[in-house]
Assembly symmetry: C2
Homo-oligomer: 659 residues x 2
């Protein structure tokens, strides 16, 4: 029995082709492959049936609400906004009249369909199945004979197919369709949706292949879709097409725009880039796809390039929340250390995409830093983006809001980034559906297996099982009040007599953690703490993570947060909301002095002692006047950032001034 | 003889109608009215012939280069870009085929024409006159019978007239045409250009009058044009139309957009607003026009509202450079204290517009704070925007540039805000022409008169004259090396025997100044120091402003500059350029400790002692690790901000870290 950083020992190859040509196969529910199933990685995702999130705890609750509220909420809006009916109009030959939504409206339908497929894998029901079948029927009816499928292009009165690769999003839409089809194939098997996707994928290969249109889509995503569809179907042609797209990008195939070709990563070939840049979601989807390609083609150099891009992006272009994207203008990464709190964009979709990128690198390398960032991003972006009831959403996740703004109207489509309140729907509604598909496949991110055992990456109420290299099955239960409490309890539910290893991620923020097994306690440094043992059913392991509040500052190159601290506890970032302050006091006027450990109340607040700034200049704001006097002392309560915006319009800040 | 803050004593009413109905009148060159000639204000602008900027010194040099280089440079680009030829195509009935440029391309022609008119007032020449006549001929030929004049709308194959008030810029274009016509009327008299403008103005009144289209232009400017054209022609109808536009704005006549109606100030009626907001140039042009309206209609309440808007904007939405506009996305003001250095937009045109707004308030109130901001904006935005040779320009004036970027190509149109280098021309080229017309009318901003004497607002080599209430003429010469030197020398060149007053602006930044007259020296606090005396020709006055370097910090509510200082000397803001640093040292890694008073060299640099940051985190940039070690000591030289970007691509920052 040891407790040390993990060096996973064996690589377990799967057979990726077992689902191909299985047109009539119904996959047994205990073999539901996860959303990402690489051909060969150090760590292997558990099948959906092997990683079962319970309905309790931080994530279990959110997953349940996602199923009960968010999915039907989004479906209702897709109908009401006309984006699903666009397919009916297409099938009836009535377009372009009456088409609703932006050029990427089709993708929202696909993303939600993917969410339904994963939810149907988690908790199969006739109701979910009916939604999937019916959505598929309507989509399928709009497909043209040669496989082309899009409601915005190609008809009389519409612009021609692929006439606007910069902004048309046709291939982007396909990418999401292919991801939906992967979800369907892995959770159900071949059906009409998979058939639609296969025709689309073949059409793409014919149109954009080596002798086809020599360009790429303005919004990366097709690469991800093709690569996973290749894995799910075992058809290498799709991987080859994805590789063509990836290799073409960066050579200026797309037109230049005011913000530069970096916007769609067409400025520099991916192998020459050292950091993510341009539109954040575009950059992250592309990066995730490139990891898939590197892994499936065993291209270690390319994998290493993507690790470097991740490293540099995390060191200098990532917010404390895990959020990415510093510009509103182009929804883009800024330069190194350009991380303004007030103009933080941190699109919810970029959070989702960041998790996708990190997850693939985690599988490929087993390095806990990727799981650390996933945790941070899940708790502070994904959990923030969606309201507790799953019926309203942040598009942008700012770190600082100076004015409360107006309440949102739950009956209308909102602008993207204009309120301290979550919105029911947006003119550009990528985020709600992206959150929906992420929460519907959340179990997949909890743990992995290698031949020797299970690696626990995220802490939540769950049951996890895996097959060892020996063929024997192991199974553990995990229960926790995390992140309100740092204790996580594991119970061995199924085990062979042979020894095997369970590894626990000790986050970097923890500094160290304690692990108790059979009354013996070990300290572990950050990384993976391994417990290798001949277990018996009923064995208990207790992992204790120190979630005491801590004050952190920023790299002083980040001008936006110099002279300020942020409070964290466990994986949570905290914030000060105006709703916690006496009337008339602005969040920007509080100067923090001392962090007070929370009173033993249950509401997860942190109390900070400080004072009000008494030196505010009211005219020309630059000068040499001394800033001496301390204002009135004040103690304020901070709440977890993910919980902000739930008390009506407020101002808010994460970074508290220290002078 | 006194030296005390001024309280101007008398109001001198002009006859604004003297230029109207003067269709054949050629105005004598010693009665050239200035660009802004209110009906009634506390202080009165000098006529162009009364305020003569010499060709020497900081501004004289720039004015000369503007005439010799910038005007022909811009004219060449207007031809080459096709924006002037658009009028020829219109006259030949060949549009819409071949039209070039954006919807506001016409306005660039008008703005440059205005610049030529003012330059022709400064230094009349047959060459300038020919350009004006020829441009007028081409513009005039494109005007339609009912007065409508626009190359982008209203023809078969174009969108209908006024079909896109939000973005079409038709009225905006007219505003600039009217300002050009004002320049022509005041520097020359009635001619074909004035006739074109009169037909346009009448067409506007007929189309948008009380019973006309009940809306406004998406870009304010027509209001300014109509109000000054009303003054210049004595036709109250134009003022009434401007008032209609001003009163309509803020009532949601324009469509909502993603950034909100505040973008075009159509969110709140001007009388209810307390601060400038939305697109900065739009907001400032509107504000300037509203002051004109308040003054000409003697609406003291409205004037007071505009003073409040100025006050609040300057206190919380203005950069240390005087620059305005915190967002790239919508070229807009941010919220209070949202003043990021790196994403500062500070459009050059917003600097010009800010000077226009402040100048009108200065005339109306005599408060030196308006002249202080004009000085700051002129030295740090207007002087920065234009290269020393007057042939390249900044569109945006950032306060912090992290990466040098690429050299600009002087043969191509550049993007708006993408380089550390000035560009020859832009796709949107409002700034070069705006700088050109400002430098061509620079003398107008130097001084004013009231019945009792002359008020000096800006220091430059010049000759200034005015007529007293008594009808007697006074004249003074001003010579100075300002801002390299704080000494300004005045010589009385013409004086009656009666006593009169010369007032000198003592800038707020100066703290105090000394004034010597006949060997006696007085101290004066900021404001206007008055010297009242029976002067004799040859009398000398010496004003000594303390231009010693000073370190300033920012209101701590400005997150972007907390823990940082800026260096100023006189009206100049200084900056650190990477070209001043050893190779491999980044401007962001310098930590300032001590300001060293400059060595007695002549190159206007300031030396600062500090050290390199030795604590840069290279991975996750947030943490609790102590920042203790001081790095290698380093002394760096700062240069005036207006001089940056002249040593090839560089990184740069104004605000130096202090920890």
């Amino acid at each position: 029995m040891t407790a040390k950083p993990v060096t996973p020992a064996s690589i377990d190859h799967r057979d990726p082709k077992r689902l191909d040509n299985a047109t009539t196969m119904k996959i047994a529910t205990n073999h539901l492959q996860s959303p990402v199933a690489p051909l060969s990685t150090l760590l292997h995702p558990l099948d959906v049936s092997e990683a079962r999130l319970m309905e309790t705890g931080f994530w279990g609750t959110r997953s349940r609400i996602n199923a009960s509220n968010t999915l039907p909420h989004c479906l209702g809006w897709l109908e009401r906004a006309g984006w699903l009916p666009n397919f009916d109009l297409a099938a009836q030959g009535r377009l372009p009249v009456g088409r609703k939504g932006r050029e990427f409206a089709d993708s929202e339908v696909y993303k939600l369909l993917e969410a339904y497929c994963w939810e149907n894998a988690n908790h199969p029901s006739a109701e979910l199945e009916n939604v999937i079948v019916e959505m598929t029927r309507r989509i399928s009816a709009a497909q043209e004979n040669d496989g082309y499928l899009n409601t915005q292009f190609g008809r009389p009165g519409q612009h021609g197919r692929y006439s606007d690769l910069e902004w048309g999003h046709e291939l982007y839409n396909y990418g999401h369709l292919l991801q939906a089809a992967v979800a369907r194939l892995r959770s159900h098997g071949e059906d009409a949706l998979v058939a639609v996707a296969r025709r689309v994928a073949n059409h793409i290969c014919e149109t954009f292949g080596e002798d086809g249109i020599q360009s790429v889509c303005g919004h990366p995503e097709i690469e991800l879709g093709l690569l996973e569809f290749a894995r799910a179907t075992g058809n290498d042609r799709y991987r080859h097409q994805a590789q063509l797209f990836i290799d073409r990008r960066g050579h200026g195939h797309l037109a230049d725009i005011e913000w530069g070709r970096s916007y769609f990563q067409d400025d520099v070939p991916v192998r020459e880039a050292t950091v993510l840049r341009g539109h954040a979601v575009r950059a992250l989807y592309l990066a995730a796809a490139v990891v898939d390609l590197a892994v499936d083609t065993d291209d270690k150099n390319l994998l290493s390039i993507m690790e470097t891009q991740w490293e540099n992006t995390v060191a200098s272009r990532t917010y404390i929340t895990g959020g990415m994207g510093s510009h509103h203008q182009d929804e883009a990464f800024g330069e190194d250390y350009e991380l303004p709190s007030d103009r933080a964009y941190c699109e919810s979709c970029a959070g989702v995409a960041s998790v996708m990128f990190s997850w693939r690198l985690l599988l490929a390398t087993g390095n806990s830093r990727y799981a650390d960032l996933i945790e941070r991003t899940m708790f502070n972006i994904v959990a923030t983006a969606s309201a507790d009831d799953g019926r309203s959403f942040f598009y942008s996740n700012t770190l600082h809001r100076r004015s409360p703004g107006e309440p949102t109207d739950p009956t209308i489509q909102s602008k993207r980034a204009d309120s301290s309140q979550r919105s029911a729907w947006f003119d550009v509604a990528c985020c709600p559906n992206n959150i929906a598909r992420t929460l519907a496949s959340l179990g997949s991110y909890l743990a992995t297996r290698d031949g020797s055992g299970i690696q626990i990456h995220q802490y939540a109420d769950a049951e996890l099982e895996a097959v060892l290299a020996s063929g024997n099955r192991v199974k553990v239960g995990m229960t926790t009040r995390y992140p309100d409490d740092g204790s996580v309890f594991f119970t061995v539910l199924e085990t062979p007599t042979e020894p095997w290893t369970i590894a626990f991620r000790i986050p970097k923020w923890a500094g160290s953690a304690r692990i108790s097994v059979h009354g013996k306690t070990f300290e572990s440094v950050p990384g993976y703490a391994q417990v290798t043992k001949s277990f018996t059913v009923g064995d208990q392991i207790h992992v204790m993570l120190p979630i005491e509040p801590r004050a952190v500052d920023g790299n002083p190159r980040i001008d936006a947060v110099r002279g300020a601290i942020a409070l964290e506890a466990g994986p949570l970032v905290y914030c000060l909301e105006s709703a916690s302050l006496p009337n008339g006091i602005h969040v920007d006027d509080f100067v923090a002095e001392t962090l007070i450990i929370p009173a033993p109340n249950e509401d997860a607040t942190l109390r900070v002692q400080g004072h009000l700034d008494a030196n505010l200049r009211t005219s020309w704001p630059y000068g040499t006047s001394p800033q001496t006097a301390s204002g009135k002392p004040l103690a304020v309560d901070l709440i977890p950032y993910h919980a902000w915006g739930n008390r009506g319009p407020v101002s808010m800040r994460i970074w508290l001034r220290t002078h």
